[in-house]
Symmetry: C2
């Protein structure tokens, strides 16, 4: 006999009666057909008769379940999630017995990876709780034990600021000092690389892997990349033995493998592709498959063994009077003068070619030289980074470079402008000694300067 | 009997006696050995005994020719240069009989391609005359007739400004209206792509090809790329039948072929590689070999036949109060407020992700929304372009995008920020109608907006 819907009951009552909660595998049978998938958490209070299922093809489906027959299926996914420590990933508290799996602490900060589609508002909205992330990536519970989940704040990454970097650094240090084998930070992708650079400089004595992970597609889509990225991030923690902050995201546009990219050498290079993050003037640290296959590509700073781990410290100080400007035709020196007047202490310039800015114009109005002289006199650190993104600066080839260098400009080798900005803000937050800051800008602290550029690292 | 050096004569006297001038092929025999190559023009008055030869391997060699035996060799290169019109490329004046080769006008503006290494100063210096370019690329005289050479100014491209763009546009229009089949502009590479975009918008009714060309390596080096780039640029004029402004530069790091890249879709992506220029969100127009092989990759605006050519016009107006700023973590709205106060009329924002800027921060201090509201109220056009460089903006996916759009922000699709800046300045130079400018920013005028992005156009 076919199961039938109880008359007069609502889908929510029915779920309750059957003991079904989010993460359970269910079937929903309506006159239009039968759908099977994982029950997703509800997005809000409105229209409770709409159930959202994650189908096996990855897509989410919203179904009007009024009058539908709901059945519970064997709970593979949920069972996997809770196998290691019942409920632990949901409560953020230790429960049950200890797991032998590596321990990963998860810090959730918002972004698409921690979002859901609001079918009412027609856009992507933040998840109600960070634990929902696991409903999209149940397989990661097989890789590690997620005992600690924290969410210091929930913001889209375009709204991230240095105070949030400091908060994430603090929380990361705390988790590591509490015994985590590594930390995964979920984050929006817009500024993921800035945060990765910030953690690279803010975490002192880092002796374990830290992975930043995001998603380019929302969880309701079949092309959702967050689950594979999360799995690969977990594999990075478990397998890399690297004491490095890395971004772990799709390496190609297929769901095949991820790259772990050094946090100071990564840049978001595409607005929508899943393989948007690219190593710049560097190779990836590793190629990582979600099933645990791991291919080291270059040497990373080695992680400590469990026995020799020390105390990780977070130094979240950041000089607010740091900024980035761009050199381009007709950039008057006006903005530079304004920053000098406003007593900025650090200015990163996305400079042209091998590290240039206007040193002369035919109307003699817009040379940067007088302003740069004034900046130097006031102790402002001006750091040039390549506007070309790829390649290294070289101030000795042309007169312009030599003139700029004489005025105290620091040519930051092959450092990304975004990384140079983060590094400069961190250094200026720690000391008022301008010469020391200039010296440290050219000293490789967290892999931000490549000793040599390999020819094949361009674009690909 | 071996030739012997005349005692008491200087190398310069000896050159004069033998009727040797720059561009001639000579041998110089010293006790250390014998060198053969093209005599290069002298860099200055000092140390006249040093002769500079361009060797057949491409390298320049400086030789102390005191007491050396100098001999003139058959003048292949010079002969080729002057075959079509004796001396015409040197004087810039019409001389001799008419050539049947296509006519290319050359506009020289400075840059590495028009430079020489000053062995005394130890750096790269501008050539003394634009005709020297031909000594580095004698083979182009076989491709076309270069009757007109002009040099409106000589500046390195980091010092280029919109008034120079206007001057180049004027000169280009003049050459075309005087009957040139196309124009080649030699230019420094730092801002070559800005100028390419500017000419794309400033030249009206363009009905013939215009090629911008530069060099990433100076002419004294074996890896000098300027000669092949010039040859390919000439082939672009002769073979493309495209009424488009294109950058023609090395497509790979080998001396095999060049790409012609649409002027509004090109970006310098590497500080030093010869294949630094890349098409962004676009395919190249064509693959071009210096020997004339030509492979069209995508459709270009077709050139007019000789009979139907019209009048090309230059509109060099550019609104000086236009600039570019970048959205990044902790960009306060301060710079934006400053630009509003300074009555800027156009602001391009290198926005994050799909077209975002801070709309909220936890300390509630640095949202851009109030400033953008004020900008809109004052009739300032704010145009967002992708900071990721690759990919397209899409303001409807997230709340931030929708909020920004509501405040009148123009999301410039897949347009490069550099191109958006040039386009915005041009449009604002022509009208004070803000709504018209916003409308035109989203209308494809010179190939700056791709109707669809092809998957394989990312990075490679």
């Amino acid at each position: 006999m076919k199961p039938q819907a109880k008359h007069g009951t609502t889908p929510q009552n029915e779920l309750e009666r059957l003991g079904i909660s989010p993460g359970d595998r269910i079937t929903v049978t309506t006159p239009k057909g039968k759908l099977e998938g994982l029950l997703m958490p509800r997005a809000g209070e409105e229209r409770p008769e709409i159930l959202v299922l994650k189908l096996d093809n990855g897509y989410n489906a919203g179904i009007d379940a009024n009058g539908a027959v709901i059945e519970k299926r064997p709970q593979h996914a949920k069972a996997e999630l809770q196998k290691t420590k019942k409920g632990s990933f949901l409560s953020g508290e230790k429960q049950g017995t200890a797991s032998t799996l590596p321990k990963i602490a998860l810090i959730a900060t918002g972004g698409t990876i921690a979002s859901r589609v609001d079918y009412k508002l027609g856009g992507v909205q933040p998840m109600l709780s960070p634990e929902e992330i696991f409903f999209n990536a149940p397989e990661i519970a097989r890789i590690a034990s997620f005992e600690k989940i924290s969410r210091p704040f929930t913001i889209w990454s375009e709204n991230m600021a240095p105070q949030q970097w400091a908060a994430i650094a603090e929380q990361t240090a705390k988790e590591l000092n509490d015994g985590a084998d590594g930390v995964i930070i979920t984050h929006g992708t817009d500024t993921l690389h800035y945060t990765a650079a910030a953690l690279s400089f803010m975490l002192k004595n880092l002796d374990r892997p830290v992975a930043l992970v995001g998603a380019q597609r929302s969880p309701d889509r079949g092309s959702f990349d967050g689950s594979m990225n999360l799995a690969c991030a977990a594999q990075y923690i478990v397998n890399s033995q690297a004491a490095e902050v890395a971004i772990v995201m799709h390496a190609t546009s297929n769901d095949d493998y991820c790259h772990a990219i050094r946090g100071t050498k990564a840049r978001k290079m595409h607005s929508s592709r899943r393989d948007a993050f690219r190593p710049i003037n560097d190779k990836p640290l590793a190629k990582i498959w979600p099933d645990g296959r791991f291919e080291k590509i270059q040497a990373a700073r080695p992680a400590s063994s469990k026995e020799t781990r020390g105390k990780v410290e977070a130094d979240g100080r950041f000089e607010a009077k740091t900024t980035i400007i761009k050199a381009f035709p007709h950039t008057t020196q006006e903005i530079l003068d304004y920053l000098i007047e406003k007593k900025y202490r650090g200015i990163v310039v996305e400079s042209t070619g091998l590290g240039h800015a206007p040193t002369f114009t035919i109307d003699k109005k817009h040379s940067w030289l007088p302003s740069l002289k004034q900046a130097a006199d006031q102790g402002i650190v001006v750091a040039f980074a390549p506007q070309t993104i790829y390649g290294r600066l070289s101030p000795f080839v042309y007169d312009a470079g030599r003139m700029l260098k004489k005025l105290g400009v620091v040519h930051c080798q092959d450092m990304l402008a975004e990384t140079a900005y983060v590094k400069l803000g961190c250094l200026l937050g720690r000391t008022r000694d301008q010469e020391e800051v200039k010296r440290l800008m050219l000293q490789n602290i967290a892999g931000e300067i490549s000793s040599r550029l390999s020819f094949e690292d361009y674009l690909d």
